[in-house]
């Protein structure tokens, strides 16, 4: 698949080197800070489960209690396991309940008490990580037994009724109709909840709440579909928003297969504090790496607010940054579903050729990544007939440029949440294109020096220029200045900042220790 664009290898190396230099200070920031959600994720691995009668998870109650007594900067593991020893109980959830009732005091122990609390915390957390390891082995076994989809790209379909018990039959029907990956869209607004709801849920807004129980129910249903269909059907959810590290952890524990996990999406589109996001991001990617989960990044979103031609290079820049952050956190290339989208105004002359150039550029820059190819949304007008045609061209670009994961476009995008018939028509569109032209990438070689090559070179050149400016300016300032997707997001603003703390000298997080030891 490489070499069709005749990219300058020195320029590609330079782009990666600049992304590394832009990203490194942010990684340093992430290594020296923690967040309430990182700490909650670690406690979930150590065995805290369930929620109080108001639906607030016990991990939230426990972390809040520890923070009230000793702050966040030491990490909560040592104070929690120290209290457990003092209270002479073994169940961390019970400790959380006592802490919520105000009957436990937390302190930061020293000396022998500290080292034995560390040991106990590490033992309990390792047990949680072992569950993730078992889930990963289970996935490998099932893929071996049932097999991967016969074709590339994998066909990715969205389900979103708000009710997990409605989602299940819809997801199974979608799998039967050809979907290889099912994504359950989350309820609008979940990204800004600073806790993960509990239990099976039947009420959501434009999506279904992501909960551990909903994950478990859907994975079990798709396991039976995998068996029925003789191919492993993958399940996707979202590690984004304020609870990103916990979402990643729950996904690992319940064997989800892909997670949306962008390095900057929450900052730009949800106004979440940049530092909170980068800290949460790194931890969640470490979990994904361990769990064998494929991440999907969100570059498609930039093109919904910014112009898909003028700002094409910001997608490339973001992909390079996402790649750097992902590698740093231990993810392998085959786990990088880097995003990009078919969002050029169809009225623009040569729009299809421009789309081909951009898609091929991503393909050649990241030859071993699965790449997530996203359908048109911005220029879907409600004219469903034109929309179906546009989706056909989108599918064709996917086939011609060897994309790894194809999110099925709906002709009713921006009209209604997809009807059964919309999904059927959309899948028929995909099947037709893949059947008619699925291997066209073997023959499709753009003319040397022609329009497509020139366009790709230009976008790469602009990406390198932008990366140079970001390195000079620092990534945090670039985000504050509105470099990505026009939104301006300063590092001292945004949601979730109060849940961030700098590490004290004695900071300890057994989950990070284990995940980094492995990475």
């Amino acid at each position: 698949m490489t070499g069709k664009l005749d990219l300058d290898p020195a320029l590609v190396r330079r782009a990666r080197e600049l992304a590394r230099r832009a990203g490194q200070p942010v990684v340093e920031l992430a290594r020296s800070h923690t967040t309430v959600s990182v700490e909650r994720a670690a406690l979930r691995l150590a065995g805290v489960t369930g929620a109080d009668p108001e639906g607030i998870p016990w991990v939230n109650r426990l972390v809040d209690a520890v923070v009230a007594d000793v702050g966040l900067g030491h990490g909560v593991a040592v104070p929690v396991f120290d209290a457990l020893a003092r209270e002479q109980i073994t169940d961390v959830t019970l400790l959380a309940q006592k802490a919520a009732a105000g009957s436990v005091r937390f302190t930061v122990p020293s000396g022998r008490a500290a080292s034995s609390a560390r040991r106990a915390a590490r033992r309990a957390t390792a047990a949680g990580i072992k569950v993730i390891d078992r889930r990963r082995a289970e996935r490998d076994r099932m893929i071996k037994r049932y097999g991967d989809p016969a074709q590339r790209p994998w066909i990715y379909l969205i389900v979103a009724t708000g009710d997990i018990y409605e989602d299940i039959p819809q997801a199974q029907a979608a799998a039967r109709a050809g979907a290889d990956v099912i994504a359950v869209i989350r309820s609008t607004g979940q990204s800004l909840l600073d806790y993960v709801p509990e239990g099976p849920t039947r009420e959501g807004f434009a999506g279904t709440y992501a909960t551990q129980e909903n994950f478990r129910l859907m994975r079990a249903a798709l396991d039976s579909s995998s068996k029925e269909l003789g191919r492993y059907v993958r399940l996707t959810n979202y590690a984004s928003g304020l609870c990103m590290p916990e979402m990643a952890t729950l996904a690992g524990l319940e064997r989800l297969d892909m997670m949306l996990n962008d390095s900057m999406y929450g900052i730009l589109f949800r106004d979440i504090n940049p530092i909170r996001t980068f800290v949460d991001q790194r931890f969640s990617r470490q979990v994904h790496a361990r769990a064998g989960i494929i991440i999907n990044t969100g570059e498609d979103n930039y093109l919904t607010t910014a112009d898909a031609v003028d700002e094409a290079h910001t997608v490339t820049v973001s992909q390079l940054l996402n790649e750097y952050f992902a590698h740093e956190a231990g993810l392998a290339d085959r786990q990088l579903g880097l995003g990009h989208a078919f969002e050029i105004n169809p009225d623009l002359p040569e729009s299809f050729r421009l789309e081909l150039a951009h898609a091929l550029l991503a393909r050649e820059l990241f030859p071993d990544a699965p790449l997530k190819w996203m359908p048109p949304t911005k220029h879907m007008t409600g004219d469903v007939f034109r929309g179906n045609l546009l989706d056909g061209f989108f599918n064709l670009v996917g086939a011609m440029t060897g994309q790894g994961i194809l999110l099925v476009g709906m002709m009713t995008e921006a009209v209604v949440t997809p009807w059964l018939s919309d999904r059927d028509i959309a899948l028929q569109n995909v099947r037709y294109v893949l059947n008619a032209a699925g291997n066209l990438h073997e023959d499709f070689v753009p003319a040397p020096g022609g329009f497509i090559q020139q366009r790709a070179h230009r976008v790469l050149g602009e990406a390198v220029e932008l990366l140079e400016r970001i390195v000079d300016d620092t990534l945090l300032n670039a985000i504050a200045d509105g470099t990505f997707g026009i939104m301006k997001r300063p590092a001292d603003r945004g949601k979730g900042l109060d849940g961030v703390a700098r590490h004290c000298d004695d900071y300890y997080n057994p989950a990070t220790e284990i995940l980094e030891g492995q990475a």
């Binding site: 109709a177 607004g189 607010t305 059964l420 939104m487």
Partner: protein, 256 residues
């Protein structure tokens, strides 16, 4: 032409009344399913109806495409719509009118309220980038735009409107599940009525693809903009409502 107030759908001949329709019935595809589809078409006034396509989806659903003649007539004189009741101005004209007549920048505060995180609409109207080749309101030199972005609470919006001395508040609502867009709009309108006396409150404008433009009064807002609205239309309306028709009335109180 003007006396022809009654029309029928047009297929390929004037007055043929032809329409196309597609729908799904929760039954497997067989003869009976096709008969059921034709029965529905007949009840919808299609006579004769031609079933041109039927295909089963999954286990128990069939998708149909029906073409046919409807016997309904459309009386154009009975149609009610909100016609644009203000002149469409260029950015230059908008700036000139604001500068000459208001003699300060016109302050606009925009947001997506409630849990709605879809900023596409508000960004299309406000961001410099705009939409369909038209620049957004930020591009208008004499407008001062504050875009609060997504998931703004109503109290935050009221506070921001007060702080920015907003002449107009623009709210975008895309998510319509369980009528969230209507509830949110009513809540917002009520909050502004409660927080500010009539002459002092900003012009309240909502927009989104699923609003009925006739519902402004019912929802307690000054204006609703539907699908396909451009920044220029919004800017022209602002000038119309706040300057050209209103300069002598209570808005002066605020400036004083």
């Amino acid at each position: 032409m003007s006396e022809n107030r009654v029309v029928r759908p047009y297929g390929d001949t004037t007055g043929d009344g032809m329409v196309q329709m597609s729908f799904t019935l929760p039954v497997p595809h067989d003869k009976r399913a096709e008969g059921a589809a034709l029965q529905l078409a007949a009840k919808m006034g299609m006579d004769p109806a031609m079933l041109v396509h039927a295909t089963q989806m999954g286990d128990g659903f069939t998708f149909f495409v029906v073409y046919g003649r409807v016997n309904h007539l459309v009386d154009l004189s009975a149609v009610q719509v909100v016609e644009r009741d203000f002149p469409l101005l260029s950015a230059k004209e908008v700036n000139a009118l604001v500068k000459a007549r208001l003699r300060r920048k016109l302050s606009v505060v925009g947001a997506c309220i409630g849990t709605d995180a879809h900023t596409v609409g508000i960004d299309a109207i406000l961001n410099v980038k705009g939409i369909a080749g038209e620049k957004g309101l930020e591009y208008y030199r004499e407008l001062k735009v504050t875009n609060l972005g997504a998931q703004v609470s109503v109290p935050e919006l009221v506070e921001a409107a007060r702080a920015e001395k907003a002449d107009a508040v623009l709210v975008s609502q895309v998510v319509t599940q369980r009528d969230a867009h209507l509830h949110n709009t009513r809540e917002m309108a009520a909050a502004f009525r409660e927080a500010m006396p009539a002459g002092m409150r900003p012009l309240l404008i909502v927009g989104g693809p699923r609003f009925d433009e006739l519902m402004a009064g019912e929802l307690g807002v000054d204006r609703i903009f539907g699908r396909g609205t451009t920044p220029r239309e919004v800017a022209s309306y602002l000038v119309h409502a706040l300057i050209t028709t209103k300069m002598t009335t209570n808005r002066k109180v605020k400036a004083a």
